[in-house]
Subunit: 133 residues, 4 copies
């Protein structure tokens, strides 16, 4: 078991029993945040005009980072804030994935970023499902 | 005109004409993020058990920071992401204000934080209104 | 007195007596973070290749944001961490200012950003001075 | 190869040849940021007064997050900013580890957090070494 899983396991007072789902979501959002940051940076190095793609990568990088942080506080309790943050994050990832997919054939980094964004949006949606259940 | 207003004014390609509203919202969210961070830190120095208040302050500090950053990119274009982020931010501020108001009579910092959170939620709601209009 | 000043004023246990200096530094870093974010976004809308400028703006935006957050915790106590963070922030702002100054005659936003970065580096250096004193 | 490694691999213009070291450092800082965030939250749920530990966890969480972001931009070029940020991050992690180690026998989460902070400080120091070489 890695360190983050052990942290979740030893938290004295988690607010919900969606810990397993939260752990998956925190991993996907945290990885997606870094991937989007790297994609924006890689896009800056491309000859083409990637301004729109870069902006969507930055939005997704920011929203995923904040959701990762919120989910990394298992004692966190305002379900409605978390739910809305997950929805904003899921949308940011979808918007970024759509744009990145347009460049995926010429720019491999955009293809990987789209893949990460899709997985992240999916993890957020599942986490939302676990909250509502 | 301060520096941020001048930056918005000289941006070559703002995505919307809600610049004035965005400027107000970016200021409220940025201030609120710092105020919530300070309130969490002040709560840590109180003798009482302020764990719930601190968590809500941290959530609000994080959500306001990310919305400030997104709004500080006037070329930003995915309206739906922004709208959802504003909703999550507004909710985080309301939840924090409600909790802080309970302690406001004994802890002045909580009173000021609640005031900042209410103003911020209001600015986010108005910004949402400007996006939808 | 604005909200943040009132927060600092009502904090029950500030770790240092450099509160006044910290308040100035938190304001400069917080404003500079937004200004750099907007400058990066404005640079994306320029026809010229602004990749280097954008990267330096993003570095400065990130470092100033983290220093603003740390300084917004007046009970914060590891002086050495804060000192090093202030040095990294000051350097990031200087690097961004140098690059932005090259474009200031053609791009007004870069001129304002350089001005903000210089003021921020200065506030960080003064804060470092206050810590060492 | 995971997504982040593939992103680094497909970046068209990395600024340094310390990519392998950077990848290790970005992983340690990103994990450490989440671990410190969870530890602060877990400490909030403890009966003991953990204020100092929580503040050091928050400082470490913030500094590691910003270094992860900077390192996730392989085209990033101001070596001196990065070096100073790595030093601040390494110091923040050491300070957090020292404090967490004091509680490790009674609070397992603090023991895991200290372990993560030590590994992260080490990765930052190695990255600094790779930059200077």
């Amino acid at each position: 078991m890695d360190r983050l899983a052990r942290m979740f396991d030893t938290h004295p007072e988690p607010a919900s029993d969606a810990g397993e789902q939260a752990l998956k979501a925190v991993r996907e959002t945290a990885e997606c945040s870094l991937v989007c940051t790297t994609c924006a940076d890689a896009c800056l190095a491309e000859a083409a005009d990637m301004a729109d793609c870069i902006r969507l990568c930055l939005d997704a990088a920011d929203m995923t980072a904040v959701v990762a942080q919120m989910l990394a506080r298992p004692g966190h309790q305002d379900r409605e804030t978390l739910q809305r943050a997950l929805e904003a994050c899921s949308r940011a990832c979808q918007a970024c994935a759509e744009e990145c997919e347009r460049h995926a054939d010429r720019m491999e980094h955009c293809g990987i970023c789209a893949e990460s964004c899709r997985a992240c949006a999916d993890a957020c949606d599942r986490m939302t499902g676990a909250l509502v259940a």
